[in-house]
Amino acid sequence: MNRKIWMLINLFVLVALALTACGPAATPTQEQAADVSIRWRTRPDNQEEINVYSNISKELDGQLQGITLTYEPGGTEGANYQDQLRTEVAAGTAPDVFWIPGTDIADFATRGLILNIADLAGKTEGFDVNAFYPGPMYHLTYNPANDKSGAASGALWGLPRDVSTFALYLNMDLINEAGAPDPRELAKQGKWDWNAFLDVAQKTRALGSEIYGYGASAWWGPYGVWLNASGGGFFSPDRASCALNTPESLAGLEFQRALYQDYDVATPYGEDPEPPFRAGKVAMFQNGRWATPGVRTVEFEWDVVELPKGPQGSQGNWLFWGAYVINAKTANPEAAWKLVQALTTAETQGKVAALGANIPSRVSQEAFDAFLTFTPPANNQAFLNGLADSPATEGPLWAGSWPEYDKIMGPAIQAVLTGGKSVDDFGATICDEANKVFNK
């Protein structure tokens, strides 16, 4: 008897749980039943950013009539944001709207994974692609079918979430202690160039064996600026072949190699420079605007300065960006497009930018003025100066595979900067390999 009761109870619980499992999801209220449900995702760097995006999602949920929003922060220490997203796209479970970095646009667009929203945008009153920075919009409106870009190209792959540039985060305590000139003053006087940078780096490095003049992370952004600033770059102007072996690119790489190997002013390449900077042991830390919330917690006096100008008179900075795009398999493209627009209004971007992690992607004086108030750092103008210095736009490779190019270029440059390979050897072989990733 007892055994039968037990079996009945177990069976009852199992069946009840299975049936009730579909209860909450499948029984919305009458008001919600008419709503279109949209899931969206972006890559936050910390909990504060997750909170900001969650609040934005709640506010937009109230503003967008007939649309119910669900925000999903993506990426963890063990699950890379892009890898996780790609897996979900392959499995057909990716959100309706998601953020991807600018370098991924071509891969997603040419494989048909994101929606071309040019038609939807064309029907939208008041929408103007020129309201955003032209660099990102060049790639976001590039149409591989007709090799055209711009408002009339017939393509629109998404809208930029925000933009960013590099600056040097300064430990003013170290710079003052070393008696080095203030980089911010040199920048104002137009004297902030590679020689001045090296001078400050060497003077601060001389403070002790554990103090470094300069630190940068090991990815394409930081080393790219030295190549750009000397007139070189990763690609040929048409972005259809490798340009890492041009004399200009090699000159930029040589200067950077010397920082690590000859002058010994930099934190070892490949080591995360943020912990020593936060510990007060690095005078100049190259990073983007996204590092600001973390740096705000350090205990020494700090500020930022734009990157030093290279031999060509340019910082060689990057215009970093990422975009909200629409899943090609979304059931509700119109609602998704409304969300993308809502996420990129000046008002929404202002709320995100207030956190200090990035710069609005809309070109407007109001946006600049608002950005300057988001202090510290006091010298926010340094980031805007970077934007005004014709930065190279982070971008995809429409004529090849960016991930593969990056994986060939990165280890080879690391070999140079860690002393495992000479710049000449690098120049002699790199493009033999790197050119293979371009479409024939």
């Binding site: 007892n2 009761i5 109870i9 009852f12 619980v13 009840a16 749980l17 299975a18 049936l19 009730t20 499992a21 579909c22 209860g23 909450p24 999801a25 499948a26 029984t27 220490e77 063990g78 892009q82 890898d83 790609r86 897996t87 796209v89 392959a90 891969d107 494989r111 048909g112 994974l113 554990e210 470094y212 992370s217 090991a218 990815w219 934190t267 070892p268 390449y269 490949g270 080591e271 995360d272 420079p273 912990p275 020593p276 510990a279 042991k281 991930p403 593969e404 994986k407 990165g410 280890p411 080879a412 690391q414 070999a415 860690t418 495992g420 390979k421 002699a428 072989t429 033999d432 390999e433």
Partner: protein, 557 residues
């Protein structure tokens, strides 16, 4: 007994005839289903899906036809086949119902539903306890009756409240709404038919009529109990395994319909060339067709040399790194574990505590471990270099030695990056291996050591001539599993290194490269081929270990 039960009990031949007809009908339907993908009845199916569906339904059709004949001839084979096919059909229909009904996606919300209703389930359980308390009052019938009645009503109340709180009615309504389509209705009808056929064939009269013997029943019960695990294995392991084998012959990018490319992926992986060099530093492009090959490495021999090139340079670098890693990580996590196990096997006080301490790294989350080591390894502010610096300064001060602080760049120098991973892996795996050795040590009969002591053997002789040979099965298990684990190294590299490939690709491993190809470069077909090559490498190594074990084992001799 119900009317149907009575009928089938009295006239099993009628039931069997019905079941034989059902088998024939099912055979026909399955045959049509097997052909459907190839005559345009199921548009939208991918090639592999069409093949899979045709194979499954084709096999089911043939077996059902055979079973139909067997049932009419009263042969037990027909019952066995029927039970297998109908059981699988029943499970398939159930899964379709759960999928179409949205139960799988609803399970995400189950935690919330369960959380707010679980208290009432506890009330129902309390009712059961009250009812069961009646057992203690069998000598007072009135009290026993009251307790049983009270328990029953409490159970009913708790159950109903649980269902109400968990929105069962809404759930049922939602389920009905979700199932109100062709697939849903078809699955429900299928569930009923398969269920009835299963029940009809399982019952005693049918079994007797089909000459079921005890061994038949035992076999069927065995398969039934095995089925959850077996089906899980087939669906979640064997299925993907076969699928990856198929993908390895395609250019699949995981998003679009893959194209058959034959052995092209394997040919690219294995396409290598060896060229003599006129001078040790001669450029690769002078001797290689650089449109196809890249330099993997070169051997310098005096004023000349040999250059090793490959179409997929990274595969060979990954293979080299993985083998190097295994070569060091396996001994470093096995030999110290053996020594440690012998120490921990002693009767000294506090040994249980130390057994737990050494086991902790094995159960700690790899992400946490890697992040902690990342800090320890940091060349500028890490504790490892900090203590090395202190040690060097102390030594120099004491002995005026003038030793230069090496300031090792653990993870950013291509000479030390892989070694950094090996140290973590050895540290992490050693504890688990120690426990395995401890289990092996405790199985060695104490008489052997006593006899050796009588014969005058010392501690080393006992260890070398008794412990090591008697531990051979444990050692074999530890070495082979650690080797397989080492060949699949991924997490430590992925989290610790930035970028994961390390300086100059010094930490790229086979699984990392496979992951990168499949999930970052959109080359799932190529990644599948890499996975099968890795399987062959691991299989070969394990086979060598098996052969070695057979030769050296005292148990075999």
């Amino acid at each position: 007994m119900t009317g149907l039960s009575k009928l089938s009990a009295q006239r099993p031949e009628a039931t069997l005839r019905l079941l034989a007809i059902w088998r024939a009908i099912f055979s026909l339907l399955a045959a049509i289903g097997a052909l459907a993908p190839w005559v345009g009845l199921l548009p939208g199916l991918r090639l592999w899906q069409g093949i899979l569906l045709s194979v499954i339904l084709g096999v089911a059709a043939v077996f059902s036809l055979v079973a139909s004949r067997d049932i009419l001839l009263l042969q037990h084979r027909g019952r066995t086949i029927s039970l297998f096919v109908d059981y699988l059909g029943l499970v398939a229909c159930l899964v379709i119902i759960l999928q179409v009904g949205g139960v799988f996606t609803g399970i995400d919300a189950l935690g919330d539903v369960f959380g707010r209703s679980v208290l009432f389930l506890l009330v129902a359980f309390g009712g059961y306890l009250i009812s069961a308390a009646g057992d203690y009052f069998q000598h007072i019938p009135k009290t026993e009756k009251i307790l049983r009645q009270a328990g029953k009503w409490v159970m009913i109340f708790g159950g109903l409240a649980f269902l109400f709180r968990a929105n069962l009615l809404q759930g049922l309504l939602a389920l009905a709404q979700n199932l109100a389509n062709l697939t849903g209705v078809g699955a429900v009808i299928g569930l009923v038919i398969f269920g009835l056929a299963l029940w009809g064939m399982w019952r005693g009269p049918s079994a007797t009529a089909l000459q079921a013997k005890t061994n038949h029943e035992q076999m069927l019960n065995g398969w039934l109990f095995l089925s959850p695990n077996l089906l899980g294995f087939l669906v979640f392991f064997a299925g993907p395994l076969l699928l990856s084998f198929y993908f390895s012959f395609t250019d699949s990018d995981a998003f679009n319909t893959p194209n058959w490319v034959g052995l092209q992926n394997y040919a690219k992986i294995l396409n290598v060339t060896i060229k003599p060099l006129a001078a040790p530093d001669q450029l690769a492009r002078d001797v290689l067709d650089i449109k196809i090959y890249d330099e993997v490495g070169r051997l310098k021999l005096g004023n000349s040399g040999v250059l090793f090139g490959a179409e997929d340079k990274l595969f060979w670098l990954a293979l080299r790194n993985t083998l190097t890693y295994a070569l060091f990580a396996v001994p470093l996590s096995v030999i110290p574990a053996l020594v440690l196990a012998n120490i921990l096997n002693s009767k000294l006080p506090g040994m249980k505590f130390f057994r737990a301490v050494y086991f902790i790294p094995s159960i700690a989350a790899i992400v946490g471990i890697a992040l902690v080591w990342q800090w320890l390894y940091n060349a500028t502010v890490g504790y490892i270099n900090y203590f090395i610096t202190l040690g060097v300064e102390l030594w120099n001060n004491l002995f005026n030695a003038g030793i230069v602080d090496p300031k090792i760049r653990w993870v950013s120098d291509e000479r030390t990056a892989l070694m950094s991973i090996i140290i973590i892996a050895a540290w992490q795996t050693m504890g688990f291996n120690t426990v395995l050795f401890l289990a092996g040590l405790q199985n060695i009969p104490g008489e052997l050591y006593e006899a050796a002591t009588v014969d005058g053997a010392g501690a080393w002789d006992k260890f070398w001539r008794i412990t090591i040979p008697m531990l051979a099965p444990s050692t074999f298990y530890v070495v082979s599993t650690t080797t397989i684990q080492a060949m699949q190294v991924f997490e430590q590299v992925f989290i610790l290194m930035n970028p994961p490939e390390g300086p100059n690709n010094s930490t790229i491993t086979l699984v990392l490269y496979l992951y990168r190809s499949g999930f970052q470069n959109f080359a799932q077909g190529y990644a599948s081929a890499l996975a099968w090559v890795l399987f062959i490498v691991i299989f070969g190594l394990t086979l060598i270990q098996f052969r070695q074990q057979r030769r050296s084992s005292i148990y075999e001799n």
